[in-house]
Amino acid sequence: MATGKKVFSCLIIGILFFFPGCWDRKEINRIGFAVGLGIDKDSEGYQITTQMALPSLLEGGGGGEEAPVWVVGGKGRTIFEAIRDVNTRSARRPFWGHLNVIVIGEEVAKNGLIPVLDLLSRGQELRRSNYVVVAKGKARDILEAEPKLESINAIFISNLIENRTGQSIAPVVTLNDLLISLSTAGIESVLPKIQALDQESFLPPQKKEEKAGPKDEGEEKPKQILELRGAGIFKKDKFVTWMDEETTRGYLWVKGQVKGGIIVIKNPAESDRDLSLEIKRNKSFIFPRLENGKNEILMKVVASLNLVENTGIVSVETEELIQDLNQKASESIKKEINKAIKVAQEFETDIFGIGEKVRTQYPELWEQMEWSQVFPGMDIKVEVETVTQEAAMTLRPIMPPTQRRK
């Protein structure tokens, strides 16, 4: 027995030595790190843009003139063909394990996401936690833009998505979220909108309003600014319309995903002065009420706010003033939510996932109805509850001495 064991182990070791094939081995400096993927479509087929990081340039500290990325394109009738097309042009095999962001061009979005996503959800290298954004215009422009701060623009985009604490004006959607919302009955997809802009397009203050204005495609210089703002909404897998930032926040309120951002309202005590409220947390509940043929949905949104700025001189410490303030904040939130509801119902796409709630709560009813037709006619009631706290460091507004003596 002992000798048999030894012979066998020798055999195995021998096999290991005789087949040092290293079938799956890929040296880290022989692979191309694809960090960003853009997908566009025209009448011929799909065009993909792959952003590959150039480690040798990064090594120098990133201080060089050249951006440490290389954008390669490929085209094909399917995504896979296009990716293979990229392979013919890249000396290093693209490695998708470090993909940071998938940018979907507007045209692709309008034509349907499913043909695009199938491959992306199959591959073993890709992560399901990749961010997906939809580009206004072409995905290629986004990946070819040269923003500052991060030398790799795909990392810039994913940081942009992760650090949206300031504003809450775009949703965060991963590939997994997208796949689930596409496959689940009673919920439609929403993707954040990304846009490449020129510095000039919004630096002068008077132009701020028309930031989404049309731009020339023929510009030669890569764009400097990438902006994540608003969202595109989908019906089934097809893009239907854009939401502006206020509507997007309305949507986020309902999803319970507002984490940051501000609300500016009038001081209840001094109607000519503004108060800034910072949003801390937000929760939401959806209660469908379909018993006895009713057609009612109740949305309940709870938000906790911090009072961070009081441009007036009257403190809002008293119970009544706080109540009043909460009231006003609620009103303002409600307005945003209603905007979102209006867009959703207008385009007959249930981005809030109300249908899913209905399906789980009234499975029998769900079987009988065609949700996309019922949804626009739903009577959606919104209730908002806010809790406001004074920011911790200072308790009272600045008050000139003259006022104090009064």
């Binding site: 799956d24 992560r127 689940t184 709630k357 789980t360 709560q361």
Partner: protein
């Protein structure tokens, strides 16, 4: 002859837990989602409960024949011919389960980690190690399990906890809206899934404190049910039933989502490597049982002589199916008909034991 009375009840606990939550859990969520949709976890609890009853029967039967495995005592209970047939069925069952575990694991490894590496080389490496530990004896297998099982279970639970933030309870609803027929089918699958517990019939004589084993094995089953339900519910809550049904390896996808802090992502390679030890434990225990089963069936003194033939058979069997779909198709047979082994044999033995003892009062507890 294998030395008897060498492993402790605690080691049996870990062996059973590993067997019940080990390899087949990789394909369970997908299978259950197809049959029962969101109700899978309820069915799992129900099936687990029934398996608990079977487990009690197994314990009751085994305790009456101290120092004997099922293959040795079955002829005494049901007569020589039927007893040998039962023994043969069990030995084949264990061999098949072992081959199945081996193949499912390699299949998963191939699709998720080593896409280009030839399948046989991966299997041969693993089987070599398994032969080694089997030659060293059940005691070593038990110790190995005891050493690694807690770590593995902690990792598994850790992965589930790490995914909690992606889970949404709404994806587990609605409850009990599946067709009763599919529910029944799911229930049968669950019984087959938990049916591995009949391995206890083989392990009994090797345990040094058999009187504690009823409690221990029930504990292991309970623990395994909790883990299985958690994995199933976790998978469905993370991906929803449609996506779960689409995936080849839902549990691996679940593990892929785990993210520890900002810097440790994509831990699935690590998990798969750890899963190797699960596969190792599972296949070694199952093949040990199958080898010792064959040995006792044909009355050989030394089980080590049979190790190589059985392991080569196992290797061949595990390489037989063409692709993953064929493996899953074959395994569906077990999910459907496995209960004839896991349910019928303990029941049969139990009834016969009652009669042979002239209707003992232990029958109805």
């Amino acid at each position: 002859m294998i030395k008897r009375g060498t492993i402790s009840p605690r080691q049996v606990f870990f062996i059973l837990t590993m067997l019940l939550t080990g390899i087949y859990i990789l394909i369970l969520p997908r299978h259950m989602v197809f049959l029962t949709g969101t109700d899978g976890w309820l069915v799992l609890i129900g099936g687990g409960f029934v398996s608990g009853v079977i487990l009690i029967l197994i314990n009751k039967v085994s305790i009456k024949f101290p120092g004997k495995t099922v293959i040795e005592f079955a002829p005494l209970v049901v007569g020589r011919l039927l007893g040998k047939i039962i023994g043969g069925i069990l030995a084949i069952y264990f061999t098949l389960l072992a081959a199945g575990s081996l193949r499912i694991f390699t299949e998963m490894l191939k699709s998720a980690l080593l896409a280009e590496t030839p399948r046989w080389i991966v299997v041969v490496g693993l089987v070599g190690l398994i032969i080694w530990i089997i030659q060293n004896g059940l005691e070593d297998i038990a110790r190995f399990t005891e050493l690694l099982a807690p770590i593995i279970l902690l990792l598994l639970i850790g992965a589930l906890i790490g995914d909690i933030r992606y889970m949404e309870v709404i994806r587990l609803k609605p409850i009990l809206k599946t067709e009763p027929i599919s529910l029944l089918e799911g229930f049968i699958s669950t019984l087959s899934y938990f049916g591995v517990i009949i391995i206890l019939l083989m392990l009994y004589p090797y345990v040094n404190a058999p009187e504690k084993l009823t409690k221990t094995s029930l504990g292991a089953l309970l623990f395994a049910i909790v883990i299985t339900v958690a994995v199933f519910a976790g998978t469905v809550a993370t991906f929803g039933i449609y996506e779960t049904g689409r995936m080849a390896w839902p549990v691996i996808e679940l593990v892929k989502m785990v993210r520890i802090g900002e810097f440790l992502e994509r831990m699935e390679s690590l998990f798969l490597a750890v899963w190797l030890s699960i596969a190792f434990i599972n296949v070694s225990v199952l093949s040990f049982c199958s080898i010792s089963g064959w040995t006792q069936l044909i009355n050989i003194k030394n089980y080590q002589k049979l190790t190589y033939p059985v392991m080569f058979l196992l290797l061949g069997m595990s390489l037989w199916p063409k692709d993953l779909l064929a493996v899953l198709g074959l395994y569906r047979i077990n999910f459907t008909y496995g209960l004839f082994i896991s349910l019928a044999i303990p029941l049969l033995l139990f009834v016969f034991t009652l009669f042979s003892k002239g209707g003992s009062e232990n029958g109805h507890r």
